[in-house]
């Protein structure tokens, strides 16, 4: 990472830093104040009085003290030093949206290495960006769904969701015929032979709205819509305020009330930074259309698991895709369309 693109302070234990005489990073020409402030500068270039400055410095010092004491310690081993270095860099890294490709690779490498130090196992984590000319959409056939819930299990396994609290992104609602889409009276946790007579089944999950209210309300910009339409969360930037959870009209978001538990042998090692990498306590998570799979051209786990073919996933910008044919030829609808959230998740019937 070059100095002029640096947006936050990093604890470069093993790298030599070349220092510039000027803070703006350019060696030639005069420094101007026109450089837009972002990341580190936004926070640090604030005028404040001596008292609050000392307060902040002390607080910051205390946070870093642990990491520094072990990383600079003569007694602790190389591994624990490396661990502390990683912890420091991870703690003070910037928002994923502000990262350069290089920063992204670095944080992914750190997370992979940190997992290796912790468990001795290797991960395959990606930070692949959205492809050009791709806009993801989803279609769900309510005539075909039989309520088996194979999709839910596949999703939990694929996305490393907390086993202890039995978190699930997908809910299958058992609706009674003749009552319309009555979510209040439908059950999403039935346990009897399915399909039950006189009922139909309707799955909900994050709809990846094109005008997502959850993104609007996030006070720290930890969640946003990617270019391919996937609404993602930076788990390391989320402060856990749960505004997004309240803003979502579809109950698409989940909160980690405690540290998620996934047995080591069940951890899906094929991960994406914005997708199924292991989460921590106090952050939001949700369906990402299996970003680690879909960005590679593969179907999300729910589509692959469905034995009835109720689920269709595809590129809305490809006129030859299945999803486009459905949108153009079937009678489709979306939930709560009047809210203007523009979900990219359509329902249809045979």
């Amino acid at each position: 990472m070059s100095n002029d693109s640096k947006k936050w302070y990093s604890f470069n234990l093993n790298k030599s830093d070349k220092s510039d005489s000027c803070g703006c990073g350019s060696n030639s020409g005069s420094c101007s104040d026109e450089k837009p402030k972002d990341g580190y500068d936004q926070i640090m270039d604030v005028s404040m009085d001596r008292r609050s400055a000392f307060k902040k410095i002390t607080a910051g010092f205390l946070i870093g003290a642990g990491a520094v004491s072990s990383s600079c310690s003569v007694v602790s081993g190389d591994e624990s030093k490396e661990k502390s270095g990683i912890e420091w860099d991870e703690y003070f890294k910037g928002n994923y949206k502000l990262m350069t490709d290089e920063d992204k690779t670095e944080t992914v490498d750190r997370l992979t290495r940190s997992y290796e130090l912790r468990t001795g196992k290797k991960l395959n984590m990606s930070s692949k960006d959205a492809e050009e000319d791709v806009l993801f959409g989803y279609a769900f056939n309510i005539s075909k769904c039989q309520g088996y819930m194979d999709c839910v299990n596949a999703c939990v396994e694929e996305n490393n969701q907390d086993r202890a609290s039995e978190m699930q992104y997908i809910r299958i609602h058992e609706m009674e015929d003749g009552k319309g889409f009555n979510f209040e009276e439908s059950d999403d946790n039935y346990y009897h032979e399915v399909p039950a007579d006189g009922h139909f089944y309707m799955g909900t999950q994050c709809f990846h709205c094109d005008n997502p209210p959850c993104v609007e309300v996030c006070p720290v910009q930890a969640t946003w819509k990617e270019k391919d339409g996937i609404v993602v969360i930076d788990y390391d930037w989320c402060v856990g305020c749960r505004y997004c959870m309240a803003a979502c009209p579809y109950d698409g978001r989940r909160f980690n009330w405690k540290t998620p538990e996934v047995p080591e042998q069940e951890v899906n090692k094929n991960q994406h930074y914005l997708g199924n990498r292991l989460r921590k306590k106090g952050v939001m998570e949700k369906c990402t259309f299996c970003i680690q799979r879909s960005r590679e051209g593969q179907n999300p786990a729910c589509v692959e698991a469905c034995p009835t073919g109720s689920r269709t996933f595809g590129n809305l910008l490809d006129p030859k895709s299945n999803i486009r044919w459905i949108l153009e030829n079937k009678k489709v609808f979306r939930l709560k369309e009047d809210l203007g959230t523009e979900p990219k998740f359509w329902y249809y019937m045979d």
């Binding site: 000319d133 346990y191 399909p195 590679e296 809305l316 910008l317 895709s321 045979d350």
Partner: protein, 209 residues
């Protein structure tokens, strides 16, 4: 005086216009459908492919009414194909040889339409078991058995060609690979069976108490 008022009003209007209209890319379209219509690309320009996810599936290419896609190859998946290895003679001749013995295929019970509409010979050909036949007695290869199904199930056939019926395999990216009829439906018993859901959320029960 009036000019001043008019000028003031004009400034306010201009200010409001500037503030209210978001000119960013984010709000370029009113609805997502507008966005899809405006940004649709020619399929040739798409770079993502799902080929690697289909590698382990043997496929055949089909072309129906302008829809071109892949379906899983069938014949290699049928146990004891070729059928003619046992069916050396037409059925009625084979029957004569087997009097008193347990009939082959005893476990197949046809639960597909009524017996007045369908029996074994509606699809299978007595004197050529390696192929199927249509209503007009033209030969249909086992790999293309959807042609047989589509004779009655026209609506499903139409949805299947388009992509609204039938599971898509591998990836969402081209080339398209869809299950053919018999990959999901047992042709002798095509309806989906009742079964228990694979999941019951005990935590949700606790939360609701």
């Amino acid at each position: 005086m009036t000019t001043k008022l008019v000028l003031k009003a004009l400034t306010i209007v201009i200010c409001l216009f500037v503030i209210s209209c978001k000119h960013s890319d984010e709000h370029k379209y009113h609805t997502v459908v507008d966005k899809i219509e405006a940004e649709t690309v020619t399929p040739e320009n798409l770079t993502v492919t799902s080929e690697t996810f289909n590698e382990n599936i043997k496929t055949v290419k089909i072309e129906e009414d302008g829809f071109e896609f892949l379906i899983p190859e069938r014949k290699s998946q049928i146990t004891s194909f070729n059928c003619t290895e046992c069916h050396t003679k037409p059925i009625d001749k084979l029957k004569q040889d087997q009097v008193g013995e347990k009939a082959a295929h005893w476990n197949i019970k046809l639960a597909h339409a009524g017996s007045e509409i369908m029996n074994c010979a509606t699809c299978h050909t007595s004197n050529n078991m390696d192929n199927l036949h249509s209503l007009t007695n033209s030969e249909i290869d086992f790999n293309y058995s959807y042609k047989l199904c589509s004779q009655c199930h026209q609506k499903e056939f139409k949805d299947w060609k388009g992509g609204a019926h039938g599971k898509q395999l591998g990836g969402w990216a081209p080339p398209r690979l869809s299950n053919t009829c018999v990959n999901c439906h047992n042709p002798h018993k095509p309806a989906f069976e009742k079964r228990w859901p694979v999941r019951f959320n005990t935590q949700k029960v606790k939360e609701r108490q």
